[in-house]
Symmetry: C2
Subunit: 190 residues, 2 copies
DNA sequence: AAAAGTGTAAAATAAATACTTAACGATGTT
DNA sequence: AACATCGTTAAGTATTTATTTTACACTTTT
């Protein structure tokens, strides 16, 4: 084996190692996004390797096709992976959303939306029930006061949910980037 | 039984029901915060019921003390529950952080901090490894180009992590509230 | 139309996680 | 000092979640 080929072989191994460092870090922080470690690893792999089919995924990660299928489904539901068209191929191809800003916006806005929706509904439902008691003069004074205090308490949380809803708007609309602009790290260095 | 007592009894039941609506909603959205459903239920209960001891928790939720202990540990690590001093009592008392803004700040900043830290480190480590190859003229041109492209790709993610770090600062410092003020829902209604 | 390729659903198995029981160590009380 | 009280750790059990195996429905190719 020539010296040249030997050097190249070492270099390729080193590149694979470098890739793996990044993939592992992405996978490890993906628990925040409520996906399994495998799905995190898959996302990291797709991010680094680019477009992949289910069969390529299963070979790369040493898992089965159905599990790749479910992992992709999950990642797609989070907006982290998209299906792509590849002409001349029957297979479906998938690509990781490489714009982390989009992933961030998609993921958190969806989650926060759900949080606001569920809790505001609950607060309002519970509030109505308490108001009936508060306004019922056939109920003892002490109990009505208790209901009143509870009513105040749960409505305090609404100011948080209102704020969260406005945060969602700020991020979804992209207005956040006027207050907090995206800086180009590469350019800044020069 | 008097009519009065009967009405009161119904009212108390209704209050418990109203509480449970709020507790359930909080518990259900707590999966976002990476806690188990039980821990979510516990937090919701503490938020509504106020200060509690481990024994009160276990009675309220019908679980064992060790599991309450681990749930509290988890909630405390997220900054969602705090220990309180109660003079004249040997038992430890715990109270849910009732300020959701504080919980939000504490939780997300901690998580995002970890995400940034881990990934930036990985990008820099992998970057160094790739640079060695890029600058090694004993390696074939094609491979060096490949390493170069990879280097560019992984460094692109850094602008996201830089942005996220600035978002953390904006939130931790409270500066976010100048752009997105907290509105008092109660007052606004009047 | 038969055969092969492709993705997913359903059932079965494996692995991880949550919870309980039992036991311990630390601190306070008698 | 012996006994209680309280929180937690450790080991065992149960439950949930992830993964694989098997089977099938739908396409495309032959």
């Amino acid at each position: 084996m020539s010296v040249q080929l030997k050097k190249d072989e070492v270099a390729l191994e080193s590149i694979e190692h470098a890739k793996q460092i990044v993939i592992d870090a992405i996978a490890e922080t993906m628990d925040l996004y409520g996906v399994t470690p495998s799905a995190g690893r898959l996302y990291g792999t797709m991010y680094i390797e680019g477009e992949m089919t289910l069969d390529q995924m299963k070979d790369r990660l040493g898992m089965t096709k159905p599990s790749m299928s479910t992992a992709v489904k999950k990642l797609r539901s989070n907006g982290m992976v998209q299906k792509t068209w590849e002409k001349g191929s029957r297979r479906e191809h998938f690509v990781a959303e490489s714009n982390f800003f989009k992933s961030f916006i998609s993921f958190y806005c969806k989650k926060w939306e759900r949080e606001v929706e569920m809790n505001v509904t609950a607060v309002e439902d519970a509030g109505k029930e308490l108001e009936k008691i508060i306004n019922n003069d056939q109920v003892s004074r002490g109990i009505r006061e208790y209901a009143g205090n509870l009513h105040v308490q749960i409505y305090e949380s609404k100011s948080y949910y209102d704020w969260l809803r406005r945060l969602i708007d700020l991020i979804e609309s992209g207005e956040i980037f006027t207050y907090l602009p995206i800086e180009d790290t590469e350019k800044r260095k020069k």
